[in-house]
């Protein structure tokens, strides 16, 4: 257990270091972009006079390094600051946006992970026969289509033609859980179709890998049914790569869904981030970037820990 604990402590401290590096990178990135927040806010209606007034008010006349360290100081005490564009508190806005993003990701994961693993098991059971080929072909087809296209297809079929689900997935405070679930159905299905193939293929490959082992042959000779062999003997030993790919896709569901958010008008983090990038609103971009990086690093950490715990050799070192 000691080895595992050291490993975890190591990973966490590396993760925190990584976050600092990420925040510096994001800051540099936003400085390289052409134009500043004052120009972006006023757009075509900018005059030298109102530009100067706005710059002064937003504190843009201070050097970039000073602004970066001011911000970093705030983060250390848990203050994300206020958005330059709207003057609204960033932590307040992010709390509700992040909640929405996590809700959508959770619904999508709840649908996609069990389906992906079950399909993977099926594909192994009927390896090289028609169910395997059908599963592979259809999931690969759905991953090959761009997200927006899948989104539009689902809108057309389930929203416009059949009228089962709303095409606009706007969620807001005071909505009941059922309404919320109904509202996010189409975006969640879109995301499911996008991530299904990756997880399914990985499950299939990982299990097929251990299916060559001697103990599987033993199990077969014992006369166990092929599903029982796959479920009881192969899957537990193939869990580590499966968990890894599941975590990778979870991270994607949280940080990479801006296109789906735009199509379904879902008020999540992605749209919030993109809006502020285009306005050069550095504090918000920093905060979102940091949260995304933390989620990404955190999920990878979880994957590592589960791999360690599922591996008896790491769990009980000599």
């Amino acid at each position: 257990m000691g080895l595992a604990l050291t490993l975890i402590a190591q990973r966490i401290s590396l993760g925190i270091l990584m976050l600092f590096a990420v925040s510096a990178l994001i800051f540099v990135g936003t400085q390289i972009l052409p134009g500043d927040v004052a120009e972006s806010i006023l757009g075509q209606s900018a005059t030298p006079e109102n530009l100067a007034n706005l710059r002064k008010e937003l504190g843009l006349n201070e050097p970039a390094l000073t602004r970066y360290f001011n911000w970093l100081g705030g983060i250390m005490v848990g203050d994300l600051g206020t958005a330059l564009t709207s003057g609204a508190s960033i932590s307040e806005a992010i709390t509700s946006r992040l909640g929405n993003t996590l809700f959508l990701a959770a619904v999508a994961a709840m649908i996609s992970v069990p389906i992906a693993i079950l399909l993977g098991l099926f594909a192994v059971r009927y390896k090289d026969r028609w169910p395997d080929k059908l599963i592979s072909a259809s999931t690969l087809a759905s991953i090959s289509l761009p997200e927006f296209f899948i989104g539009y297809l689902l809108i057309l079929v389930f929203g416009v033609k059949l009228g089962w689900f709303p095409t606009v997935a706007t969620v807001y405070d005071g909505m009941s859980f059922g309404d919320r679930l109904n509202a996010v159905m189409l975006p969640a299905l879109t995301l499911t179709l996008v991530v299904l193939a990756h997880m399914m293929r990985m499950t299939r490959a990982a299990i097929l890998n251990v299916m060559q082992s001697a103990y599987i042959e033993t199990a077969e000779l014992k006369g166990l049914s092929s599903f029982k062999i796959i479920w009881k003997h192969a899957l537990p030993n193939a869990i580590s790569p499966v968990i890894n790919v599941v975590m990778l896709n979870m991270a994607y569901l949280i940080v990479g869904v801006v296109v789906v958010e735009v199509i379904f008008v879902y008020p999540g983090m992605g749209q919030y981030l993109v809006d502020h990038v285009s306005k050069r609103d550095v504090p918000v971009v920093q905060a979102c970037g940091l949260i995304f990086a933390a989620i990404y690093i955190g999920l990878n950490l979880v994957a590592d820990i589960i791999s360690v715990l599922s591996n008896p050799r790491l769990r009980h070192p000599k």
């Binding site: 757009g43 929203g159 606009v168 008020p267 919030y272």
Partner: protein
């Protein structure tokens, strides 16, 4: 009209027959679907507005970076929300004239330098405070003050001083301006208690609705203000505004019945959308124009022959056909069209490769010309640039097209580079349009047009109260810009909005799309 049809349409208007059955029966009686729809909408109009219900609107243009301060509104969502909770002194009416709102009377001194606005009696803000002339003064002070970040700062620059006298608000200008009231219809200038100096983003105003929930860039919910003074505005009891920036999603929301109206249907699909059952398209001519701008003071565009060569080398009809898909009209290289009061037609410039080649030769320019464009300068700008490239090629003029990133286009390319694509959404009056972008001293003189004769005419026209003389002055100014300016204006775009058959009350308007963004308040839910 056939009596039976008339009877049936009235039944629908009284909600005793649904629309689909009406269309079916009308068809059986030999009326085309279009005819039946027209008949139906006139019957519904005649029935009068129905009060109550929830009206849902999908708008384009909002973002989570928006501000609730009316001074900082830059897009259509903000403009619509401003109109829900707030009101200006005056507003544009359906013919481009003035409609009195918080001002009940407007009076000018004979030289159009001093303007007196009598403030409407008995109007209260949604926080219960009574509206006074001081509130109006404070509002204008906030927008025109030295520290102002307001989008209306530019148009208020001609104000020398402001004061109140009883319930009158008085403005002294630095020079005459017969159009001052039109400037005050600007969408930033919502009258707020104490001018919004205490809390600019509180959304407290005198408007027909109060905002109950505001999620920037996502959704706004407004409830009818029970104390609103004007019975003609605000029929639905609740208005829900959803920001849908994706074109396809916006149209799908209308098609699936989740919203009653939407802005900005892409021209490409407008005719397809119009054929959907239960959806009506409104393609309304506007003062907005898509343009190519040349800097008159930068080589090679500092040569008028070269500018004329390019103006003759563009095929305007083709642009309207292929870029606007017929939803617009051709331009004449001036920033105004027949939607402005006091406009007179000038001779239409046409595509003429021979003339273009002649002027190009006379300019002595050699080699190709670089045109910068981006999709957000106007929808279809890169395609329009390619059409321009082809039509200019026939005149022996070679254009190079550089596609710039959309992000940062307004800060890095527009008003900086000598030749680029752009758009203007038009202004309430010719004076406002010319003062914004063609006066030598204008901040947004994006064609670098410095013409003393033009400036003189513009200032003189402001003080000219004789309409005939004024009209002539505007005609002369138009001709100057057209023949000497740096503007190539091939097309004026229509506003294309769509409404569902669950709402009625659409009517003509000037200004912006969706009935100058008043459609949610002027239309009503039919059931």
């Amino acid at each position: 009209m056939n009596d039976e049809l008339k009877y049936l349409s009235q039944q629908v208007a009284r909600q005793r027959l649904d629309r689909r059955s009406f269309l079916g029966r009308a068809g059986a009686l030999g009326l085309s679907a279009v005819g039946a729809s027209t008949l139906l909408s006139s019957a519904v109009m005649a029935q009068g507005a129905i009060k109550g219900g929830t009206l849902k609107v999908a708008v384009e243009g909002g973002s989570s970076t928006d501000s609730l301060d009316p001074a900082l509104v830059t897009n259509s969502t903000g403009t619509m929300v401003n109109r829900l909770w707030g009101e200006p002194l005056v507003e544009l009416d359906a013919d481009g004239g003035l409609e009195m709102r918080l001002a009940s009377e407007v009076e000018a001194s004979h030289d159009a330098v001093t303007w007196t606005f009598k403030i409407r009696d008995g109007v209260t803000f949604s926080n219960g405070k009574a509206l006074t002339a001081e509130d109006v003064l404070a509002t204008l002070e906030r927008h025109a003050g030295e520290e102002s970040k307001s989008g209306a700062l530019g148009i208020l620059s001609g104000i020398k001083s402001m004061r109140t006298e009883g319930n009158a608000f008085i403005v002294e200008l630095t020079g005459p301006n017969a159009d001052l009231p039109f400037l005050l219809s600007d969408y930033h200038l919502m009258i707020q208690p104490n001018g919004g100096k205490d809390d600019p983003s509180a959304m407290i105003g005198t408007g027909p609705y109060t905002i109950e929930s505001a999620e920037l860039g996502v959704r706004f919910v407004a409830e009818k203000n029970p104390n609103y003074w004007n019975p003609d505005l605000g029929h639905a009891s609740t208005i829900e505004v959803t920001v849908i920036n994706d074109d396809t999603a916006r149209v799908a929301a209308l098609q699936s019945g989740q919203v009653h109206m939407c802005t900005r249907v892409p021209p490409k699909v407008a005719s397809l959308v119009g054929r959907m059952p239960g959806v009506e398209i409104h393609s309304v001519p506007s003062a907005g124009h898509y343009v190519f701008i040349m800097h008159c003071n930068t080589a090679p565009f500092d040569n008028n022959d070269l500018r004329l060569a390019l103006k003759h080398a563009i095929n305007r009809e083709e642009m309207v056909d292929k870029i606007l898909f017929g939803n617009g009209s051709i331009g004449n290289d001036m920033p105004v069209n027949s939607s402005y009061p006091l406009y007179t037609e000038a001779e239409q410039r046409t595509y003429d490769p021979d003339k273009a080649a002649f002027h190009f030769k006379a300019s002595g320019h050699d080699g190709s010309i670089l045109l910068r464009t981006s999709d957000n300068s106007f929808p279809g700008a890169p395609d329009a640039s390619q059409l321009f490239q082809q039509s200019a090629k026939a005149a022996g003029i070679s254009l190079d097209i550089k596609r710039e990133p959309s992000d940062g286009y307004w800060s890095e390319v527009w008003n900086k580079q000598p030749f680029s694509t752009s758009y203007w959404s038009g202004r309430a009056t010719q004076d406002a349009m010319y003062s914004t972008a063609y006066l030598s001293s204008a901040d947004w003189n994006d064609t670098r047009f410095f013409n003393p004769q033009f400036d003189q005419l513009l200032v003189a026209a402001r003080g000219e109260l004789d309409v005939a003389k004024r009209t002539q002055m505007y005609a002369d100014m138009g001709t100057l810009v057209r023949d000497e300016g740096g503007l190539i204006a091939p097309m004026f775009n229509n506003f294309i909005d769509a409404t569902s058959d669950k709402v009625a009350g659409w009517g003509p308007s000037k200004g912006f799309g969706l009935m100058n963004f008043y459609a949610p308040m002027k239309m009503w839910v039919t059931g």
